[in-house]
């Protein structure tokens, strides 16, 4: 296979560590007795519960109503009885209002409402289905998809990109989807293209996944408007701006959005979810999760019902072989470390990593030696060492002048730093402070 020519500048080469799960077929995870379904699994406004304790629910029934445009409804992933509605641990950190449901084991589904002739549906009708199915970005950010599919009239979209880069180490959920069910991805992409009225679709896949490239290419054969492109393997190839640049050589303007340059990007998993919503009438109540890391007995790719706790998922994988030092929701480069296993899988959970002490090395930071490696690898061309200095000193103006807000938080700088300095961490913190200050000055 020829090396993918499409790439971006900067970036790092973390160890892939995909061998644990890349050849393991996706299998359904055991549906637990109790699921915990957070009312906020997405970026934007939380949902309001539509059920009360004692209510019975079915699989696929809407149980959370979005409050606001940037939001997405939430559905039950089991059939049973609502036990309680309470604040519960969320993999994003903190606690979130969650509906806790006792599974009755019958798996009774809401009768899917499948349109008779999908080809006759208008873009607006299709978009309504995407919204009602509660679909959000499945790559991890969980941004409500229907919002992405509703660009303002003055933004002319001409290209839809599907992200199949999966550049995070360990994760293979997108990979397995591309290998096993490429037709779902193509079908979803065509729906997205129809909604946006676009005639060019590109699927970008890193060149360390030849089987996925082959399989998706085969499924896209005969589709005149869809290109499958091999990307050079490098982290963060799956970052939206870097992916768009690699595939179209267009640059998302600083502070702008992909739609400013006529592009909408979705994850391959999101496309598959859209396909399921439109063609099968299935709302987003389950997703593929990679369970990996040296501390888990049998690493797997699982189709997990939303609301299944990490503990139940890990139990299904044979439990632990060693005391884990770290449990991560997502990949090791951008994922969030968890303080407990009693935390539910949500729509954005691409992976559960259970790392041993050896894997989850915690290096002690030492003084910056100004080697400049962070500058070399930053895909946004920032100067992370100087930004981090400004951040640690709390000088917000300087951090802003050094383009703190352009940071995509990929973590390449922290990864490469020989002094193990918390570069991206300090930049994330200063970004929060800058945002808070902007809000304050806007409201005063």
């Amino acid at each position: 296979m020829a090396k993918g020519l499409f790439t971006f500048s900067g970036g790092v080469h973390p160890p892939h560590r995909k061998h644990y799960t890349e050849d393991i077929k996706v299998e359904p995870c055991r549906v637990p007795d109790i699921v915990v379904i957070p009312m906020q699994q997405h970026i934007g406004a939380p949902c309001e519960p539509l059920v009360k304790p004692g209510d019975s629910v079915k699989v696929g029934q809407k149980i959370g109503e979005p409050k606001g445009f940037v939001s997405a409804p939430v559905h039950s992933s089991v059939s049973g009885v609502v036990k309680s509605i309470e604040m519960y641990n969320s993999p994003g950190g903190g606690k979130v209002l969650s509906v806790i449901i006792q599974n009755d084991g019958s798996d009774t589904r809401v009768e899917p409402d499948i349109p008779l002739n999908i080809d006759l549906l208008s873009p607006a009708q299709l978009k309504k289905i995407v919204l009602e199915a509660g679909i959000v970005g499945m790559g991890g950010a969980a941004f409500p998809t229907h919002v992405k599919l509703s660009p303002p009239a003055d933004k002319k979209i001409d290209t839809v990109i599907l992200n199949g880069a999966e550049c995070e180490p360990y994760l293979t959920s997108d990979y397995r989807l591309m290998v096993e069910s490429p037709e779902q991805i193509i079908s979803g992409l065509k729906i997205i293209m129809k909604i946006l009225g676009v005639s060019s679709g590109i699927i970008g896949i890193e060149d360390n996944k030849p089987k996925a490239l082959q399989s998706v290419k085969a499924a896209a054969a005969g589709e005149q408007n869809i290109k499958v492109v091999s990307l050079r393997t490098k982290y963060p190839q799956g970052a939206e701006k870097q992916l768009i640049y690699a595939l179209t050589k267009r640059m998302v303007p600083s502070g702008g959005l992909p739609m400013d340059i006529g592009v909408v990007v979705n994850n391959v998993g999101t496309a598959a979810a859209i396909h399921k919503a439109v063609d099968l009438g299935e709302p987003l109540y389950q997703r593929i999760v990679t369970v990996s890391g040296s501390a888990v007995k049998e690493p797997k790719n699982l189709l997990v019902r939303i609301g299944t706790t990490f503990r139940d998922v890990i139990d299904f994988c044979g439990g632990l072989v060693e005391e884990p030092a770290k449990v991560i929701s997502g990949g090791p480069m951008m994922g969030i470390a968890q303080h407990t296993l009693d935390v539910p899988v949500v729509k954005g959970t691409s992976g559960i990593l259970v790392l041993t002490k050896k894997e989850a090395e915690l290096p002690e930071p030492s003084a910056c030696i100004r080697c400049g490696r962070c500058v070399e690898v930053c895909p946004i061309n920032l100067m992370p060492l100087q930004l981090s200095n400004a951040a640690l000193k709390g000088i917000l103006e300087e951090a802003e002048a050094l383009h703190a807000m352009d940071c995509i938080e990929c973590g390449s700088c922290s990864f490469i730093c020989p002094a193990k300095r918390p570069l991206v961490h300090s930049i994330k913190m200063v970004k929060k402070e800058i945002t808070a200050r902007r809000k304050r000055s806007a409201s005063s």
Binding site: P14, P324, V327, G335, E359, E361, I369, H403, P418
Partner: protein, 320 residues
Amino acid sequence: MSMLTVTSAPHIRSKDSVSRIMLDVVLALLPAGIFSVYLYGTRALLTIILGVASAVLTEALIQKLTKKPVTIYDLSAVVTGLLLAYNLPPSAPWWLPVIGSAIAIALVKHVFGGLGNNFMNPALAARAILLAAWPVQMTSWIIPNTESISSATADAVSSATPLAILKGAEGVLPSLKDAIIGNIGGTIGEVSAVALLLGAAYLLYRKVITWHIPAAYITTTFVLVTLLGGRGLETGIYHIFAGGLILGAFYMATDYSSSPITVKGKLIMGIGCGILTAVIRLYGGYPEGVSYSILLMNVAAPLIDKYTMPRVFGEVKQHA
């Protein structure tokens, strides 16, 4: 279950470390040192050992006294001590490397905040101080006497360096071959261009340094000296191999904390060093100008960084 560790992403880190980088520099400097010991005998060895020991002890002492964590295991003091010793003549009295390294570590490195905060190359700044304080001891050169290597360096003859000869001092210009291999007078570290280039290749391979500063530096010096030196290409080639240019360009001008970080900045640093070196060597009072060129450009590094900040991805020109 025991406590889970919760830290901010990323959760995996590269294998690179500060001590590994410094170890690479030490390894890269070894061939030149070994060659020098072969050439000048135990005297060179003693100077190197004293230079390194003094640097490490000074660092440990300062950190103990200021109640800071002792970081001598990061090997950065070893590198400074080595470079200081490499900048001394083989005939240096024993106390010269001791005082030199102490100055480099105490005055140039730790007064300004320690590793990563020195605005000048510590070894070079210390060398400049030594040169001002003990000019005689710092500029007594000996020509290696390869025939009497067994009887050590007592027989070695005092002489001017090739660059001084090129500039009009008395003496016989050594052959170009001797200049390249290192059979000439000079400081401990600079004599063998071959040994230094071997180490430089290793540093480039290990990505400890990039080509920008050394390539820009050497090319600029070579072009200017060839054009303005009077003897054409021959002068140019002697100027590359006979003095401290290779040691300076690959090992000193590339010092992380006292050189620019941006690619453009590195090229400017190299070109600036090249111009200054050529000017000092051709028109200045000294036959050699590498140290002062690098020190002057060190001082300019923060400014260079400020004006060569890379354009941020997707940044659009501001229209007022």
